[in-house]
């Protein structure tokens, strides 16, 4: 259907009513130098086949993880996605479903969200998980607000081993709220002693990530103790939930709030988004959890049904009292995570996790065996690890790319003090042959 604009006569009438002579007059508040005073320079239209050829040529200048051997992680993970995921998640009933405002007629979507929530609880070891958030970074901001609200304290302490982008979003989130964000410097691993010394009576929460941004597994139990001893909450960020296939869930070592990025659960890399924010907590805090919670119940005839059990009432009423402005979720991404986890099953997730860990440790051993390369931090790792390099990591990456290998993250981009450090990730997608090829190229680079 074509949009029918106003007629010339109608435009004249509107201009007269607005008290201006021409359309141009409406833009006079825009500085002259910012205004385009000539027609747009658009080339003539292409024929359909020529246009497709042109766009294809542009698209071919991109590359992706199907064509490269990817050793890059740092918060976004290249895992194998079984074909069941697209088959189920792309069904029109799910793909086009809007937010469940009319809960009673959206049973399918609600059931999917309910199953997703249940799986997140199992994965994190927590009592309740919400219907999902935007991404790991904004979930970090929400967890901070929640902790401040729960403890009536004003400061959050976050380890610098938490994803730098999560920390940046946390600062944005809290910038105009009466919340102080203090960073706890971490050298590869968050120090329990330093955490103990830094937590005060004003600290609402200690936020750490495990495995952390450097790939190291934090000492969760001791950090939880340090937070709890001062009455602060312990918040754990999980950037790579596949790790929970073999690592202890945060709920078992004292986490009060678990936040995470669910991308690695069946979601494609998607050029950085949309991703899947996870938040889970203990039952006693459910009323302070942002977003919405789907529950299972029975109808008057005793048949099972799904409802929006809790949703932030401040979305509808008492808006002045709101502690979060989250009133939606990422249902399709959550659904994808649920289908992925259901496809793999409990043993499948453990198997993928173990495969990641074994391959990453093989790569770690081989790379640190090369002259000039050494492990940057002495800590246990899962599928990522940091090495110090004999030459600038940016140079290594540039040369590897010419051989079809996507190298690791140059840590200097976020941590100037670690400009010789390279953060590598090895998922179950990498074959032993690819790892050996990486090692061979590194050896040849010197």
């Amino acid at each position: 259907m074509k949009y029918i604009p106003a007629t010339a006569a109608e435009r004249e009438r509107m201009l007269a009513a607005a008290g201006v002579r021409s359309m141009e007059d409406l833009f006079r508040d825009i500085p002259e130098e910012a205004r385009l005073t000539r027609p747009l320079d658009l080339p003539p239209a292409l024929a359909d086949p020529d246009l497709l050829a042109h766009v294809r040529e542009l698209a071919d200048r991109n590359t992706d993880c199907d064509r490269l051997a990817c050793f890059l992680g740092a918060g976004a993970y290249d895992h194998f996605v079984p074909s069941t995921v697209a088959h189920l998640a792309l069904r029109p009933e799910f793909l086009t479903a809007y937010t469940p405002y009319q809960a009673e007629i959206m049973q399918g979507e609600l059931q999917a969200i309910y199953e997703y929530q249940s799986m997140m609880c199992e994965l994190t070891g927590m009592d309740v998980a919400n219907a999902s958030m935007y991404d790991g970074a904004s979930a970090t901001g929400e967890a901070a607000c929640m902790a401040v609200d729960l403890t009536k304290r004003s400061e959050v302490l976050i380890s610098t081993a938490v994803h730098p982008e999560y920390r940046q979003v946390l600062r944005t989130y809290t910038g105009h709220l009466p919340i102080t964000v203090r960073e706890l410097p971490a050298r590869g691993l968050t120090s329990v002693e330093a955490a103990r010394a830094a937590i005060t009576d004003a600290t609402a929460a200690l936020i750490v990530q495990s495995p952390n941004f450097f790939g190291a597994i934090e000492q969760g139990e001791a950090l939880a103790q340090a937070a709890h001893d001062k009455g602060a909450l312990f918040v754990v960020a999980i950037a790579e939930p596949i790790s929970l296939g073999i690592l202890r869930p945060p709920g078992e070592y004292g986490a009060d709030i678990v936040i995470g990025e669910g991308q690695s659960l069946g979601n494609a890399l998607n050029f950085g988004g949309p991703y899947l924010g996870v938040i889970a907590t203990r039952e006693q805090y459910v009323r302070r959890m942002p977003g919405r919670l789907v529950g299972r119940t029975v109808d008057t005839a005793g048949r099972p049904g799904y409802v929006l059990t809790l949703q932030t009432r401040e979305q509808h009423i008492r808006r002045a009292k709101a502690t979060s402005n989250i009133c939606t979720n990422e249902s399709l991404n959550a659904l994808i995570a649920a289908v992925y986890l259901a496809t793999l099953g409990r043993h499948g997730v453990a198997h993928v996790a173990e495969s990641c860990a074994r391959k990453a440790h093989y790569a770690r051993e081989r790379i640190t065996g090369l002259r000039g390369y050494e492990l940057a931090f002495d800590a246990p790792t899962f599928n990522e690890f940091t090495v110090r390099c004999p030459m600038p990591p940016a140079e290594i990456n540039r040369r590897l790319l010419t051989h079809g290998i996507l190298g690791g993250l140059e840590l200097g981009r976020f941590y100037p003090e670690y400009d010789d450090c390279w953060l590598l990730c090895v998922t179950e997608q990498r074959s032993r042959k690819e790892i050996d090829r990486l090692v061979d190229h590194l050896e040849a680079l010197r």
């Binding site: 009323r287 009432r313 008492r318």
Partner: protein
């Protein structure tokens, strides 16, 4: 209708002076108007509450309302059983107390209404 021994706020809380302490709840008028109460949020023991400022929340199937402290002071007791059974606010509003406060300024109690004035405030027939 409204117990004579209690004092009332215009925001529909009752206050019962027990020696140096004050027990606090919401009136039958408030509970009736809210209808079925499903959730109540109370302060922690040790918290400081301020005269006519919100100290908690009641949520019914119809509405969510702040509840106001009829006196300033320190919370020394909280009715934890009420959190488990918020519906007792409907069935027994004067038994379903919310908190006990140690007043920091007992003179504030003089600003509250007596049963007669409160009845006039909510209108005859309630």
């Amino acid at each position: 209708m409204y117990p004579k021994e209690l004092r009332y706020s215009k925001e529909h809380e009752w206050a019962k002076v027990e020696g140096k302490r004050v027990r606090v709840g919401i009136t039958k008028f408030a509970a009736d108007r809210l209808s079925d109460i499903v959730y109540v949020e109370l302060p922690s023991v040790g918290a400081e509450v301020k005269f006519m400022e919100p100290f908690g929340v009641v949520e019914s199937v119809k509405a969510v309302s702040d509840i106001y402290a009829p006196v300033s002071g320190k919370v020394v007791e909280v009715n934890a059983a009420l959190v488990e059974k918020p519906e007792t606010l409907n069935t027994d509003p004067y038994g379903a107390w919310m908190m006990v406060v140690e007043p920091s300024n007992p003179a504030e109690l003089d600003q509250l209404l007596d049963a007669e004035a409160y009845t006039a405030h909510v209108g005859e027939g309630h």
